[in-house]
């Protein structure tokens, strides 16, 4: 895959997400219909989906979705995978010929478990072991790209309009309890298959509309914790920041969001004592993790999802609820398209996270 020298997503873009908190699984039709309604926000240079709960038969295995440029990249990658993992099943991800989708890489899927002796010799827990393998694969093997690597989930993406990408992967044949989607509108550079959203690490996926002007600062901060930003895109840092705070440091999601989109200093000044102390500490300690610039993102992980806006709301975000189902989207019409009469529909304030968790996780 041709990697861009420098990639930015200055505007446009559509995001959408659906979570059934009860864990009920439903096909990819709804999310395709929702993101397709916002076609005007994309330009055909990138579309993608993250789907959760789609591999119950392998729920304890890590599902690797891979892009390969050629057979050689596949052979080298499979040697790497075989060395570090026991592979339960491997094969190409089924796709359908769609006329608008061209130049697709080889797209493969592996259900794997880390080898016991590798875990023992590395001294790592399995999640961290897998995360390091993903970063190594992306960095070391030319022509190979890890699309996703979580349990019971997968990312499906490429160059094209999102509804065509959904058709290409036949997402109506999958059932999940949570779906997110992205339609891309890159204006400065061509799109490439790996550069489409979502960006993932383990079960965490991020779709993003906007542009992180703090990318450089965020990236250097992440380097200190061993993250290498190899995709040359700003969205990657949002995924790694969330991974660092929630998985590795065990921070509550709300706090991670308040680090990434913190209250303004004058707002902090007006807070009651204990809150002021907390937020002053967060901004002081984690200042380099503040994400600046316009953004609306949807981050998803096995247990739920969060939608977050930049603090001064330079990108749109709407949320709605109907029974157990939480919807978030760039546009209200994209929710109404699949849920004509929600119980509640609202626009979150800038910096105010909308969090939805699976019921079984909350209990």
């Amino acid at each position: 895959m041709l990697r861009e020298k420098y990639e930015r997503v200055p505007s446009g873009c559509a995001v959408s997400g659906i979570l059934d908190r009860s864990g009920r699984r439903f096909s990819g039709n709804d999310i395709i219909q929702s993101i397709a309604l916002m076609r005007e926000r994309s330009n055909g240079l990138g579309g993608g989906f993250a789907a959760y709960g789609i591999y119950p038969e392998y729920r304890d295995h890590y599902a690797f979705h891979m892009f390969y440029d050629d057979e050689q990249a596949r052979e080298i990658s499979e040697r790497f995978l075989n060395e570090h993992f026991n592979i339960a099943e491997a094969g190409p991800i089924p796709t359908k010929k769609v006329s608008w989708i061209i130049n697709e890489p080889m797209i493969w899927r592996y259900f794997v478990l880390p080898k016991e002796e590798k875990l023992t010799s590395s001294g790592l827990l399995s999640d961290e072991f897998v995360a390091q393998c993903v970063i190594n694969l992306n960095k070391r093997i030319d022509g190979a790209f890890v699309v996703s690597s979580g349990k019971n989930m997968g990312a499906f993406k490429g160059v094209g309009y999102p509804e065509d990408i959904g058709e290409f992967y036949q997402l109506y044949n999958y059932e999940g309890y949570m779906w997110t989607a992205h339609g891309r509108f890159p204006t400065n550079t061509p799109g490439w298959w790996g550069g489409a959203h979502p960006f993932t690490l383990l079960d965490l996926s991020v779709v993003h509309n906007g542009e992180l002007s703090s990318y450089g600062t965020n990236r250097r901060y992440l380097n200190e914790f061993g993250y290498e930003c190899t995709m040359q895109t700003d969205t990657e840092v949002a995924a790694y920041l969330l991974d660092l705070f929630t998985r590795r440091q065990g921070m509550p999601l709300e706090i991670a969001c308040k680090i990434m989109a913190p209250p303004m200093w004058d707002e902090i000044e007006r807070m009651p004592d204990d809150e002021r102390t907390l937020y002053t500490a967060l901004r002081t300690v984690y200042g380099k993790a503040l994400m600046n610039g316009p953004f609306s993102i949807i981050a998803a992980f096995n247990s739920g999802m969060v939608a977050l806006n930049d603090r001064i709301k330079l990108r749109p975000l709407v949320a709605a609820e109907k029974g157990n189902v939480l919807y978030v989207s760039s546009e209200e019409s994209a929710i109404i398209e699949i849920c004509p009469k929600p119980d509640k529909i609202w626009t979150p304030r800038g910096g105010e996270p909308v969090i939805g968790m699976l019921e079984e996780v909350k209990a």
Partner: protein
């Protein structure tokens, strides 16, 4: 009356249909099943009434120059962008940047609005645009406002719920903002000055609130019985000396 079913129709085709219908002399156009189609009513002249059922897409009534649009539901972002004349009535809420650089006409919104409403509104002689909002507004209300009238009524708020977000009137250098009730000083931009309401203000408020109450079935006297905060710019040219 002419009914257009917008179900599954692309915005270009839908807007061409609406314009053709208006050009044929029809002045009562009902558009049903609207879901996200952008640019409805854009640049249209004349005095047709377009009734929209569903959720119209962004930039509805942009550059509009005469017609009336009634939305039976919620609207999205940038309603009335650079609108020049006419009327918009939204029986629900609206998104960000309503009335962006609006130059004339009136917009009535029954419920809440998002961020940056009234940004860069302007006026010239007898062309004075106005936006009346029944609920609350987000941050940057009236940002860089250069003219026109913003009226925020704050109905249906929870106890202690703020009627307006932060940075209200930031960069304001013309026009007037009326907000029902009190506004915390810290929510105001540096350029917004709080002034008492005078008789002329009462007249302006009376005229617009009566229309609002009429459209959405409220009692105008009830609304007008509350106190109002008036905001105008401190000076005409807040940045006049910035680069001098």
């Amino acid at each position: 009356m002419k009914v257009i079913d917008a179900n599954g129709i692309h915005y270009q085709q839908l807007n061409a249909l609406i314009k053709q219908t208006a050009a044929s002399g029809e002045d009562d156009i009902r558009v049903l099943n609207v879901r996200g189609q952008r640019y409805i009513g854009d640049g249209m002249r004349g005095d047709a009434t377009i009734t929209v059922e569903g959720v119209p897409g962004n930039d509805m009534a942009a550059f509009m120059d005469g017609p009336t649009i009634v939305v039976k539901g919620n609207a999205q972002d940038a309603v009335g962008n650079t609108m020049n004349e006419g009327k918009v009535m939204i029986h629900g809420h609206a998104g960000d940047t309503v009335g962006y650089a609006m130059r004339g006409g009136t917009i009535f919104i029954r419920d809440d609005v998002g961020y940056r409403v009234g940004i860069h509104m302007k006026e010239y002689e007898d062309k004075v645009p106005a936006i009346v909002i029944g609920g609350k507004a987000g941050d940057f209300f009236g940002e860089y406002m250069a003219g026109g009238i913003l009226i925020l009524l704050g109905m249906g708020l929870y106890p202690d719920e703020p009627i307006v977000g932060n940075y209200c009137g930031t960069g304001m250098h013309g026009g007037v903002i009326y907000i029902r009730g009190q506004v915390d000083k810290y929510r105001l931009g540096k350029e917004a000055d709080v002034r008492p309401i005078d008789d002329k203000d009462q007249k302006v408020l009376g005229m617009y609130v009566e229309q609002f109450a009429d459209h959405f079935g409220y009692d105008a006297e009830d609304i007008l019985s509350g106190t109002f905060t008036k905001l105008i710019p401190f000076g005409k040219r807040p940045y006049g000396k910035l680069y001098s």
